[in-house]
Symmetry: C2
Subunit: 471 residues, 2 copies
Amino acid sequence: MSKRLGVLVVVLALVSSAAGSASKADEKPSELWLATASSLGQRALSDPAAFDFVRSLTTEIGQRLAGTAAHKRAVAWAEARLKAAGFENVHSEPFTFPAWIRGEEKAEIVAPIPQHLAITALGGSIATDANGIEAEIALFRTYDDLLAAAPGSLAGKIAIVTQRMVRAQDGSGYGAANPIRRSGPSEAAKRGAVAYLLRSLGTDSHRLPHTGALTYKDDAPRIPAASLAVPDAEQLERLAALGPVRIRLVLRPTVEENASSWNVVGELKGNERPDEIVLIGGHLDSWDLGTGATDDGAGTAIAFGAARLIGSLPQRPSRTIRVVLFGAEEMDFSGAAYAQAHQGEIGNIVVAAEADFGAGNVYSVQLPPGAAGSDFGRLLQRVIAPLGANVDSRPALFGGEDIRDLHRAGVPTSSLRQDGLDYFDTHHTADDTLDKIDPKRLEQAVAVWTAFTYLSATSGVDFRSLASTAK
Amino acid sequence: MSKRLGVLVVVLALVSSAAGSASKADEKPSELWLATASSLGQRALSDPAAFDFVRSLTTEIGQRLAGTAAHKRAVAWAEARLKAAGFENVHSEPFTFPAWIRGEEKAEIVAPIPQHLAITALGGSIATDANGIEAEIALFRTYDDLLAAAPGSLAGKIAIVTQRMVRAQDGSGYGAANPIRRSGPSEAAKRGAVAYLLRSLGTDSHRLPHTGALTYKDDAPRIPAASLAVPDAEQLERLAALGPVRIRLVLRPTVEENASSWNVVGELKGNERPDEIVLIGGHLDSWDLGTGATDDGAGTAIAFGAARLIGSLPQRPSRTIRVVLFGAEEMDFSGAAYAQAHQGEIGNIVVAAEADFGAGNVYSVQLPPGAAGSDFGRLLQRVIAPLGANVDSRPALFGGEDIRDLHRAGVPTSSLRQDGLDYFDTHHTADDTLDKIDPKRLEQAVAVWTAFTYLSATSGVDFRSLASTAK
């Protein structure tokens, strides 16, 4: 502890000296920014604030599904935390949405012999009746096999897709498999299925199924849908190879049509261009099975930790840094609510970025188009290379679910890519708990976020102009 | 497949040639045994029979808690398997015991804020009433801290011990922690506690609690007891550090006093000394949460696979090899039932060994006292060294729960020690499923078991005499 404090004192001294040297006429501003951003990055590597944030959130609040009393507690907790850390303009912006609340859920093999199955309902699934649905299964090893099934061919069946999700550092395995969960229920229903199960979109092999939202299509009946734990999906593959299998499925979720949620906001006001906004955030809501440590306690902690460090500088950056803790990401509502509420401000948002990919280290930063090779990109590269991260030559295409609508409205976005090799081991499961976070990797992520955020708010970079030049 | 068959043909030829050379007067018997045991061991390394056995058992039967219909199905399944594989004298030996059957089980933090807890009842725990027990917790970081608590000091409290279990290849971490589960409930009750929870005896960090049997003491009130998943135990440690915590616990198990179980037996009759018995086995019953793949489907598969390979030789070994698949190990009933039923046969059992430590490779074989340095020990070492295993210079102290009573009655026992570094990640949890078995490691274990069993049944070794010489 004393060692850590010692490091902090030295680093603070460096930061002060770097800031102090701003008055020297023989030094370029970019050299000052470089020194300050580098010092902040080093400081982040031993700053416990982000881990403390997610530890407190997951311990004192726990799960916080949007629409539940727990999420409301989380909102009050977050406001108090932001105020205590010195943020300005701390407030919560309300919106309403249809909240989906998990109920009883169970499944069992009825024939050839009784066996319990570990399942969990997909977010948005309709309920079965209290007795559930019992039917024979039709099992497909790939999603394309299901799509190739003829209309009506699944009449009266429970359709099951057991396609494996690929482990990939950049999350591309999840992206590729996502339609199996999102669209599978409606595709199965179009072919006559009465319910739908999929092998969890996860890279683990535990009896802990992965939840996640589905999207019913308008041209298909709505059928109940759930995920199987990976070992259970494999068990069904083996049993289905031996003969007919019957399953009973009970799902009893409910929906509250006009539930309340809030996007929680805190700011560091810019000292020269306060109307120009660098927006960073994560989402405060979580799924209900675990305590939302990596999804997305870690992301909120990263945004909080990065902004807090910048706020501790002797002098504020030129632009305003706005931290937004979104309030209903998992069911895709908070980003739209935020974009709608801030329509008039779109032009003022210099850049937006959301941390929503776990607690791993950042290995690559994707900037808006045209920025990677710019002075800004090179400056950022000099700061983050010693932290173990690169500026990616490819531009950011997706900054996060909650800033998708801002991006569509014209806001430049960045993507700070975290190592996700193990992220989908616990993503959306009961296993998403604090022990899955490595504090040192989290601190590295905060360091890169701090550098990116500080430079975006200080350097005067105009991402829109870089993008138009790049075209 | 054709490659595998090719290997089999070559190995069979070697085995036949080794057996054929028995008639050559210039060859010592031990050299023949060495050649045959080595060939059998090599053959085991590509023999799918053991994995097929455990795959079928866990897929077509699944969980098989003693006293349930599923276990009865497993007994019929096992008899049919043994007969189909050519075993003789296949039968099941019945016994009665008090069967403990899991019921509803749930726990939640009530205060400071509601949170779900992942728990599972300990085997043998009494039930709470339907509404459960709600009380403040008294949390101890080590078991000794609990033992140091004064009588009456836990009055009205739910006692919780969160001591960590150590990961160790030889299972010593489990041995050291075992009293926390076995004796903790009564020790807590003596001090006034109304219920007992422990951090799971496991080396994982998943939301899958580890069950296992408790042993109530006669001089303490019986209180309900359950295991917490590791992340939940850690959550309670963090919350307890912040202030009082209240929990509600509901456990609804039942007991069937005169339930039936069976020890399933199959033999390869010895061709010279059929009354002398080499007894190997595993236990067919499992806990109810997973499918009992590593505990102890793997053990039954190892014993089956080893004996089956020996049975495929052109000529039977001198002594009888008896495979016993015990029927109520998890609650400690089948070993006593077996020893009692076979009292008159104790002197005929040359050696007994049980495979009940997962599906890992065997790295060390502990023989009865005096045998490690004997001709038998050296012969075995020559066969298993190429397989990656050693004869341990230390004698076997514990051969397995089901042969403990045989050992007490004078039967020499051996312990074929499997690598258990990862065994307690899934032991006694819902995660004990087929995917946790690495077929190649299982095959290596079968190879060492085959060598040990063959040499014990062929060489005429007298372990009792070696033990008395060693004294």
